[in-house]
């Protein structure tokens, strides 16, 4: 295989797992890892969790390990700007990187609040630099307004409350997290905010973020004015495909791939938050923004790109977690369900398990502080369990816990 060239664009979780998997599979050609950020690959989930509380954030691997042990040429600090699939070249400004196999792992970029360009104290939370800025504002005791009651916004609010700071979350929708977990469970998760002293205002938008050079207040569409020193926008992310304009790849809210993460253009595969691939476990296309699938797809995409004749599908039951206050929310499967049933605990309380039905299939499970249960449901969903199987399993668990 020597003499062949693997190029990976995007030096984060999926990109790192791609270069590691390439070497693990015995690939001994050249490997280039191109990243827009100046940093070595680092982990994002801690950015809205422990890092905001003051913890360190080490890189996944040291430069020595990447360069010497893995033989990776690093091209960090400048984004790829164009892809020429006919010449098989990735451009980053003036530089050119030829490839035989290419993995696109450029992830997603945070959506920004319109009209806040010139104001300091207004941030998104996607990168290490974002998190540093938010953390230092919290260190200064900022009055905090979070826009968007999704997972990242809710984690930022938790971090602010942990320090005893005043924090308000503004959410445009009447119920938060509807797309992620459905309306009823979105309400149940949102209840954690009130219980922990965070003000949550749903069904109202942001009319303007105002200040003289630095943010001073947020004006809401219902006329309310919230004083603020720090505004964090947690209003979602968009797949980073701008650099692929004109490359001839299929783009539709992400890079469209088949079940092997292949884009249909020879040699080109995609992985992680940027990829919309066909997930055989549910027979439908999906684009996830979850740690586990990004890590796994990175490895699969590299192996498949290097050995397309033996390409393997990537099939998964989606999984994510989120830590709010002293609680952990975990979700497996898909939330687009016809019925959601609480099978254990109390959705108004500290612990519950809810199951999601699609047709007669068990499609998903959500737990609040249900670490012992959640993965048992993931295994059931992976096996294609029916709704009845899921309910019966829940009954058995409950009975076993009562007698234990």
């Amino acid at each position: 295989m020597s003499g062949r060239r693997l190029v990976v664009v995007g030096a984060s979780l999926a990109g790192l797992r791609a270069v590691e998997a390439a070497r693990k599979s015995g690939f001994d050609g050249s490997v280039v890892l191109i990243g827009a950020e100046p940093h070595l690959p680092y982990d994002r989930p801690p950015l809205s969790k422990a890092f905001l509380d003051g913890a360190d954030l080490p890189a996944f691997r040291t430069e020595e390990v990447l360069r010497d042990e893995l033989g990776v040429r690093l091209a960090l600090g400048a984004p790829a700007t164009a892809l020429d699939t006919a010449a098989r070249v990735v451009r980053a400004g003036e530089r050119e990187f030829g490839y035989d196999a290419l993995v696109i792992a450029t992830g997603a970029a945070a959506r920004t609040l319109p009209g806040t360009g010139g104001l300091t104290g207004v941030h998104t939370l996607r990168t290490r630099d974002d998190a540093l800025a938010v953390r230092s504002a919290l260190d200064d005791g900022a009055r905090t307004v979070v826009v968007g009651a999704g997972f990242i916004g809710s984690e930022v609010a938790s971090a602010a409350r942990k320090r005893g700071l005043d924090v308000t979350i503004v959410e445009a929708l009447p119920t938060p997290l509807v797309r992620a977990v459905g309306a009823a469970m979105g309400r149940a998760c949102a209840a954690l905010h009130a219980r922990n002293g965070t003000t949550l205002r749903c069904g109202t938008g942001v009319a303007a973020v105002e200040g003289d050079g630095r943010v001073e207040r947020v004006r809401l569409t219902d006329g309310t004015v919230l004083p603020a020193d720090l505004v964090v926008a947690g209003i979602g992310a968009v797949p980073a495909t701008g650099w692929l304009a004109g490359a001839g790849l299929p783009l539709d809210d992400g890079v469209v791939c088949d079940e092997t993460l292949f884009t249909g253009v020879p040699g080109v595969y995609a992985a992680g938050d940027v990829a919309r691939w066909h997930n055989p476990a549910f027979g439908r296309p999906m684009r996830l923004e979850h740690w586990t699938s990004a890590a796994e797809q990175g490895a699969v995409a590299a192996r498949n790109a290097l050995d397309p004749a033996n390409a393997k599908p990537y099939s998964t039951v989606p999984y994510f977690w989120s830590d709010w206050y002293d609680s952990r929310i975990q979700f497996v499967g898909v939330p687009a369900a016809e019925e959601v049933r609480v099978v254990d605990g109390d959705p108004g309380g500290h612990r519950f398990v809810a199951l999601y039905r699609e047709g007669d299939r068990l499609a998903g499970a959500l737990t609040l502080n249900g670490q012992p249960q959640i993965m048992k449901y993931r295994a059931l969903i992976m096996r294609g369990a029916s709704w009845a199987d899921g309910l019966e399993f829940a009954d058995r668990r409950r009975a076993a816990l009562k007698t234990a």
Binding site: P45, A295, E296, A299, V332, Q371
Partner: protein, 63 residues
């Protein structure tokens, strides 16, 4: 092959349990228990996937 868990890294997310349920289980306190220390031939692939899937890189195999 033996499974080694770095207890200071593991946060009980349980991905390992879903990939290799014969070897890992998160208990009612939210802590990871190893159901077996030595991995059988049959469970090896699942354990390898668990090592790759663990978000805190808390797992490894030792021969």
């Amino acid at each position: 092959m033996k499974i080694i868990v770095d207890r200071s890294a593991c946060t009980g997310l349980g991905i390992c349990e879903s990939l290799a349920p014969n070897c890992f289980e998160v208990d009612d306190a939210g802590d990871l228990i190893l159901l077996t220390e030595t991995v059988s031939e049959e469970d090896l692939e699942g354990v390898r996937q668990a090592i790759e899937g663990c978000p805190t890189e808390a797992l490894r195999l030792e021969s």
